[in-house]
Symmetry: C2
Subunit: 351 residues, 2 copies
């Protein structure tokens, strides 16, 4: 039963430049009635992303309404320009959605609620503008209580940004549930929040409250499940974003870590002068940094082999990482996360 | 030549509960005309803190105006309740200061500029409400350029909060200048900002921009000096604040670290279940975490022996840390920072 019936905005970017759209379409339980991409209007989702549920691609929200049989609950903004601004060419679609009585869901840094036109129109039509990038106002300092929850906590940590930490977390939850473990995903970024319908965008929290915001999420979800899989962010050696990573590491007080790596990546994305250290250095850094607050270990590896076309070569890349880390390792997209769950269960977690 | 003539608000807290007041009075170049403490009105600063320049202690801003010969430029809020709120018993003093044409300087989380009464009164009297805890709006993501500045960069890092990282930084700058090194202090917290008259409160920056905010400070100051001493915050193993520490570590790209420790502290303040790890673990953690972005080393130690009355026992505490770290170490308050500067210079920095 889908949580809501939605239209996904991905103008000029579907599918490869529309990371949020793909995440929601692949992992969310929303039913997608149409995708907006003015460059591909007339095509179908199946033409471009055969693994996703099919839907028409149309040029505008009005066209989506015409193509969709039945009501639409919400328009999701499924793309983000660099900097997270709002592209004014999307304004007509957002306006049309609000006027049609639909909520609008956005993970942009630009808050729809602060746009005078959208705010007034949403009030007139009694719809919600859900700015998922806006953290709640009542976040505070961490108290060090995440370890007190009943659930075991696993955190996906990375060797860089954009290596698949959210995807790994979602695939782990799915694979764990398949073997009867009551697992839940804990979202810490805008796409994860749009998929799961809850969470806090940790990168937008005041730095003093970074760990506290994660602790709030763990405490909220922790007693209702056997296993929480917290979505990590960034990497602990990132020249710009390591603060976010470090706050999540200490705030989550994870019982196990899954180290995520993109095969072939040898420098931090966008900071080419910063080389990716050996994977064993990451294991030491994450474990040693976590230990004084809550001891933890890397219990599995996740390798993103998207850049490798050949299946055998991809398998070699995964094996190389498995051998280096000496824990169960898989590409959660190519192979599924069953082997990763092996590592989690072998460590005594989730039961 | 003092930068301005000020009154310091420290009601019911002077001197021991008034960390900000003491910092400004000890290290700022402001001239202090009076201290407000209604519990000690009639005493003098010299009665309680003989190492500071003397001044009368009075009960209200009006009394301060009467006691001060000549004009007052500003009222500094020199205390902070837990949570950083504004205590309404201070309202009459702030009102009186504004009415008398004085700026008001505050490091509280509660912003004076957002207080309707103060904002209106300040506009009427053409004075500034300087909320130093409010970060500038134009902070962005770090670009990894701090290492490009001409100055060598030293960062004070800690084993806990409140171990003397700001004090060590200020004493290092003073001792370095004494031997002819053109050194500058880079403030990252509200008291440091009030002392130096510039800086950014890193704990209030959005977590994604933590390193970027520090980089901005280093780039602003970096080419005009031989040595920058960046004020560290928190500790890298803090259950709540490590994100701030980590962002400063990677944003500052320090060439050398000074490890600051409070003698006798054996657990993280306020988080008694988190033991302080061995000092050599901190050295490894800070150095190993920094290295992928910018290689650095602990070049000196700073020991806060405030809790030890006996001079010989204090000296033993300092020697113990020196032996453990195997770098020049001193209590910068008790001994001055000359030995710490030795460690910095021995590492080839500041010249």
């Amino acid at each position: 039963m889908p949580s809501e019936r939605i239209v996904v905005l991905a103008h000029e970017k579907f599918p490869d430049g529309a990371k949020t759209a793909l995440g929601v379409m692949r992992y969310g339980d929303q039913a997608v009635a149409a995708v907006l991409d003015r460059d591909r209007a007339g095509d179908r989702v199946a033409d471009h992303a055969p693994d996703l549920d099919d839907a028409p691609i149309v040029a505008s929200f009005e066209d989506a309404l015409a193509a969709a049989e039945g009501a639409i609950d919400a328009l999701y903004v499924g793309i983000a320009p660099i900097g997270g601004g709002f592209d004014d060419s999307w304004r007509a679609d957002v306006r049309a959605a609000i006027t049609a009585g639909c909520d609008v869901v956005s993970g942009l840094h630009y808050f729809l609620n602060e746009d005078a036109e959208f705010a007034a129109l949403a009030a007139d039509h009694d719809v919600d503008l859900r700015d998922v990038r806006r953290p709640p106002d009542d976040i505070g300092v961490a108290s060090g209580r995440s370890a007190d929850v009943d659930a075991d906590v696993v955190l996906t940590v990375g060797t860089d940004c954009s290596v698949g930490k959210m995807t790994a977390a979602l695939e782990i939850v799915a694979a764990a549930r398949d073997r009867g473990i009551d697992a839940a995903f804990v979202p810490t970024g805008q796409t994860g929040i749009m998929i799961a319908g809850w969470g806090t965008p940790i990168d937008r929290v005041v730095s003093d409250f970074t760990a506290g915001a994660v602790e709030d999420l763990v405490l909220t979800a922790g007693d209702g499940h056997d296993l929480l899989v917290v979505e990590g962010q960034g990497t602990i050696v990132h020249p710009a974003y390591s603060a976010v990573t470090c706050g999540i590491l200490h705030g989550a007080m994870a019982d196990g870590l899954v180290l995520c790596h993109a095969a072939g990546r040898d420098a931090i994305h966008g900071y080419e002068s910063v080389a990716i250290p050996p994977l064993t250095d990451y294991v030491d850094l994450y474990e040693d940094l976590a230990a004084p607050v809550h001891e933890t270990h890397v219990v599995a590896g996740a390798v993103n082999t998207k850049s490798i076309d050949d299946d055998v070569a991809a398998e070699v890349a995964v094996s190389d990482v498995a051998e280096t880390l000496d824990v169960p390792t898989a590409d959660p997209v190519r192979d599924g996360a069953d082997r990763i769950v092996d590592g989690i269960v072998d460590a005594g977690l989730g039961e």
